[in-house]
Amino acid sequence: MTKRKLIYIFFTCILLGFIVLNSKIMPVKKELTDVELVKVIGMDLGTDEKYRVEETILRVSYQNQSTGSSPSTSGSPGSSGSTKYFIVKGQTFDDTIRTFQTYVNKSMSGSHIKYFLLGEEYCKKDMTINIDFNARDYEVRLNLGIYLTKGMAAKDFIAKVVNTDYDLDEKINSMEKNNEGKNVSYKLTVIDLIGYLSKKNSSFLMPTLRIISPKGDTSDSKDSNSENKKSNSEKENNIIQSTVVEKSENSETFFDFDGYAVIKDKVLTGYLNRQESITSNILKNRKGSTNIDIYEGEDNVLSFGMIGFNTKYKFKFDGDNLNEVIINTSFESNVDEAATKENIFKIDKLKYYEDKQAEKVKLQIEDVIEKMVEYKADFLDIEEKVMMSHPYKYKKIKDKWVESLVNAKFIVNVKCNIRRTFDIITLQDK
């Protein structure tokens, strides 16, 4: 045996020995069937001092097994039958996870969590302290979505939604995919959240979810939670509650995106309504489309589909002070619908309708800016744009940025271009 071979064998043995004997670098061995897959975690503050936080853990259920059908039967899990979720209490989130592990016979895996739902009260406290454990867990995927449950606790939201015929995570995922047509709010990922939380005095927008009652009214948190509160009060001394929900055939609870929540200095400061959220997306150059209606008289409506938003920012300084923020927004629109019997749309009125749309969008932008000034929260990320375009001047106003922004004069210019009128012009000409 040559010397080279001996060296080769020696180092191979050392390497293998190091791997086998050193349990710290060896991955933990567990069968896939021994893993508790969790798809959504709701985070709330505890109702008493004993348990500071509450987590609602919505696990993946395997309906085909519970109903006794063949394992190979296809079908999305949780689409029918019962869904089980747990409400776990503890001093910290770490504590709740350990408690959860004690009461289930599988080891929890955070790697398949798709969404964190944050309760409204929870977001009113400093999020850096509360979300740290869950967001920085190595198992958590970086594209995990974070939503705020508007007007209610996350556990109540989950309790209501699991009573429906659709999966919570599948539904949110579907809404995200089809969001371009609505342009209401966009997903906030955990990596973005960590980025915002790491910055000092940061402000950002967090998408919200809101329950819609069967009659189409948005539910109030106090009304919707009465039953759950009752059941919770009965078991409030239990550290863990497991709940099996039998889905009724007439489950008609829906939820939808409901704009953004404004988070300033890691605390929930206020909300943007749906229209303000859409406008904020325009100002942040989000890819998407929305519609705008122009009324001519009482009954005549022209609906335009808006696409291709392009917003540019210019900054004027007076010495080292930010004097003016000029917002130039342009977009294109198509005539989607003419809900009228009269001949209101003519080719020579294109400019008129372009101006109408621009005027309307300008007002909407001014509303958003007003909210920004009111909350003193730079949720449009203007700071970043100033930093990129005027780095030296930004350094001088960095420490008093919010004051500078709030005191600056905002000039909004909106330009619209009607791109397609489809066959409306042809019809009117005839």
Partner: protein, 511 residues
């Protein structure tokens, strides 16, 4: 002086003790030959009385062509005897130095017997070797120092048929057969160049077998050629019954599972490689040829590649490389992610796998090992049995037992799918030796994966690459041309095949 004991041992290796009271004196005499072939009932001694002396024709029955003996040996001798030809000297029995060229054997060899393949043998050893090589030997009772041997062996050969393992749709279907002379003629008929050289060797003490080394002299790598020739010369084995007797005696790393020679049944493939400067080895009795040096890239090429459109050919090669990765890594990767790294599995797939594994008692490691072993058993069983039963075994094993195992919750459907994909991907390998090596790697990686998950798989792959990069086939690195500094040659005929017009030969062969 002939070493009689050594000669006897050589002829009778299993019975080293010669018969008592009988001795060999080294003369080419009927007595000595009879001692050597004692107890061999199939040897024939045909006496021919010619003039004043007796000639004896010695041969093994059923091994020579009787018609050739009658027409080319016996008939001329008897015709001369009957016509009393004047060309014969008066006293043929004289066999001294003065009339050495005029004795009966010399006269017969020089012109009377119309057979081209005859040889004068001057010692008993050569005579015995020729008789064993199915030649007929003519000796005189009075001349003790010479004999004539005639190569009139009866060749039982089959016709040229299509290759069994290297099917081709567009192209020559000519394949080698067991006869080396016909195999050599196939090459000579196609390469009409004096540059084609064929060196012949005999290997095997008891079963001397012809080996031919073929190469194009002007383009062959002389260093590689010298290595090959010297290694073949140095082969010292008694029996040459399997093709591995040659292969394992000439390769650089005899303990390696990776093949260092590439075999082919197709003459076309050997010719193509010879014209690229490779060396071919033909062995008598085997319908295959070896091509060397063999590098990794060659195991992914098929003759069909050069018959179809270059784009299709390149796509198929990419597919083969891809399937190589699949067949090595897929089971170990599946095992690793389902046992150690569940976070890597997409949620829906994880749910699907968990569902399929409900109620199964075995861990994934055992399931995968069990299925891989079952797969190997099925392959081996269908290969050993006759073709019709082999197909039945495949159907019974694959469908009925597989389905029953899944229904009985012995294995999960996902593991069955993984192992099936792995096995089918392995069948894409054109070279069976290389496919076998991949099977060994696959099992090794599964074990490493069962110990350390993806860390184990990574370490296994690193070690495998390290080992392959240290391997050489007759001095040529195994990863050639991928490790070459000559980047232009890397993409000529490797993963992608360029159109024929773009693939220029680096050295022109002399005509």
């Amino acid at each position: 002086m002939l070493d009689k004991w050594r000669l006897y041992k050589k002829i009778n290796p299993n019975n080293p003790n010669p018969p008592k009271n009988k001795s060999l004196n080294g003369e080419i005499s009927i007595e000595n030959i009879k001692i050597i072939f004692e107890n061999s009932d199939d040897i024939q001694y045909r006496e021919i009385h010619f003039s004043n002396e007796t000639l004896i024709l010695i041969y093994f029955q059923n091994t020579i062509d009787i018609e050739l003996v009658d027409n080319n040996i016996l008939r001329p001798i008897m015709q001369i005897e009957s016509t009393n030809c004047s060309c014969l000297p008066k006293d043929l029995t004289e066999s001294n130095e003065n009339n050495r060229n005029s004795d009966i054997l010399s006269i017969l060899e020089r012109g009377i017997i119309p057979h081209t393949s005859n040889n004068i043998r001057n010692n008993l050893n050569d005579v015995i070797t020729d008789i064993l090589d199915c030649c007929a030997c003519l000796i005189s009772t009075k001349i003790k120092d010479r004999a004539i041997t005639f190569d009139i062996k009866k060749i039982e050969k089959r016709n040229l048929t299509e290759p069994t393992n290297e099917n081709i749709i567009k192209g020559s279907k000519e394949a080698f057969i067991e006869n080396i002379k016909i195999n050599t003629s196939l090459i000579r008929n196609r390469i009409k160049s004096a540059d084609l050289k064929i060196k012949e060797f005999k290997v095997g003490n008891v079963t001397p077998t012809s080996i031919s080394v073929l190469y194009m002299e002007s383009i062959v790598d002389k260093i590689v050629l010298d290595k090959v020739l010297s290694r073949i010369k140095n082969i010292n084995i008694d029996k040459m019954l399997t093709i591995a007797d040659v292969e394992e005696n000439i390769v650089c790393k005899k303990y390696s599972v990776f093949p260092q020679l590439i075999y082919t049944e197709k003459s076309e493939k050997l010719i193509s490689n010879l014209l690229e400067g490779k060396i071919g080895i033909l062995i008598d009795g085997f319908p295959v040829a070896y091509i060397l040096p063999a590098v990794l890239n060659m195991f992914f090429q098929t003759p069909e590649d050069y018959s179809v459109n270059y784009f299709i050919s390149s796509a198929l090669r990419v597919l083969r490389y891809f399937c190589t990765v699949i067949t090595i890594i897929l089971p170990s990767f599946f095992l690793a992610i389902s046992t150690f790294h569940q976070e890597m599995i997409p949620t829906k797939l994880a749910i699907s796998i968990i569902k399929s594994k409900q109620g199964e008692p075995f861990p994934v490691l055992l399931e995968v090992m069990f299925m891989l072993l079952s797969f190997e058993i099925l392959i081996e069983a269908s290969a050993r049995l006759p073709k019709t039963i082999g197909q039945t075994i495949s159907i019974v094993g694959g469908l009925i037992i597989g389905d029953a195992a899944v229904n009985a919750n012995f294995v999960s459907p996902s593991v069955v799918v993984i192992v099936a994909i792995t096995g089918i991907a392995g069948f894409l390998m054109p070279n069976q030796d290389f496919a076998n090596a991949l099977r060994v790697c696959r099992f090794s990686l599964v074990i490493l994966s069962g110990i350390a998950g993806l860390y184990g798989v990574s370490i296994g792959i690193i070690l495998m690459f390290y080992y392959l990069s240290t391997m050489e086939s007759f001095g040529v690195p195994y990863f050639t041309p991928f490790t070459s500094n000559d980047y232009k040659n890397i993409n000529v005929d490797t993963i992608f095949r360029k159109p024929m017009t773009d693939m220029k030969a680096k050295t022109k062969v002399k005509r």
